[in-house]
Symmetry: C2
Subunit: 196 residues, 2 copies
């Protein structure tokens, strides 16, 4: 078994394309190479997807990350700052890591394939809105100091986005710190700063 699982040929091509483009960039990979890694012929690639560009677009459609955050939060929040921020932070990293190759592609190719950045929406506005509303609600419950909730939400997101970007290439610049301990410490910092 070379790499042939029980995947469909289409999926083999899509996954190979994602892997290679995330690593070398759209212009750095040939259709021949994608087909070979997928264990199929280049001809099949063009028969099924028509063009290289369409192959990448179909990959986005197939493996886009769901907007699961909305539901998660509305159900699981317990209105205890530290606990909720931990949940939010962990969920964020789980989602981002699951889609890190697509995110890497959208960053690298934003100059070549316009519109892809918006599709992956690296900093989902959704999450910012949810966090902002969460902070506002917490303030009205008397569990948060008086601040600009949108700015606080943005800070918290930027913190996690920076940590995610730093880990993306996995040649960890700071191997002494694990993601989990980082999350716990940063959440504690925000908790200390925002509790009355």
């Amino acid at each position: 078994m070379s790499s042939g699982n029980n995947l469909s040929n289409d999926d083999k091509l899509l996954l190979a394309a994602i892997d290679l483009i995330a690593e070398k960039g759209y212009n750095g990979v040939s259709t021949q190479e994608i087909a070979t890694v997928a264990g199929l012929s280049e001809k099949t690639l063009f028969r099924r997807f028509g063009s290289k560009q369409n192959l990448l677009e179909k990959a986005f459609d197939r493996f886009h990350y769901a907007e699961e955050m909305t539901k998660l939060f509305n159900e699981k929040l317990v209105w205890e700052l530290q606990i909720d921020l931990l949940l939010i932070s962990r969920t964020y990293h789980k989602i981002m890591n699951r889609n890190r190759k697509m995110i890497m592609i959208s960053i690298k190719e934003e100059g070549n394939l316009p519109g892809f950045r918006e599709r992956t929406q690296i900093h989902p506005r959704q999450l910012l809105d949810i966090l902002t509303n969460y902070f506002m609600a917490m303030y009205e419950k008397g569990k948060l100091i008086r601040t600009d909730p949108e700015l606080q939400a943005l800070s918290f997101m930027m913190l996690n986005f920076g940590a995610f970007m730093n880990n993306l290439d996995s040649n960890d610049n700071f191997p002494s710190v694990s993601l989990e301990t980082f999350i716990m410490e940063s959440v504690q910092t925000f908790t200390r700063a925002l509790t009355p």
Copy 2:
């Protein structure tokens, strides 16, 4: 005057290469295009730099960003948490923005041109060490609560790195917030969290 300032031809080529490669990626730009944008002939490009790869390497050597942070901090710190964090944050963004094209190249081409990422060292270890030592010194002065100084320094850096990355492409995802207000608010958050 088309775009011909009083730059040398070499610099015209280097700057054009940086602009275009940062936008479209190394494989997305041809030497012909670089020469045209520089207002010179492709032949001159090869006469002066020999190869496309060497052109990019010379661009790195010429426009790398200095390690000016060490001196800046050792001289200007006043051991007042909020003031110092403001200085650090602003200096960080100043340096990063001045070199954002080179940083963008090193991110995009890390799969194609290995070794470039290390040269730009996106999250300078230097800065982390300085911040860590600063937090330790502040703790011994009694001006900081007891925490893990390296983790706090890392959090602060990730926060600013995330903000920088978000602004990189300048198609601001959150136009309602300016960088300056973001800096002030995030510094205030850390100050609140870390003062005894």
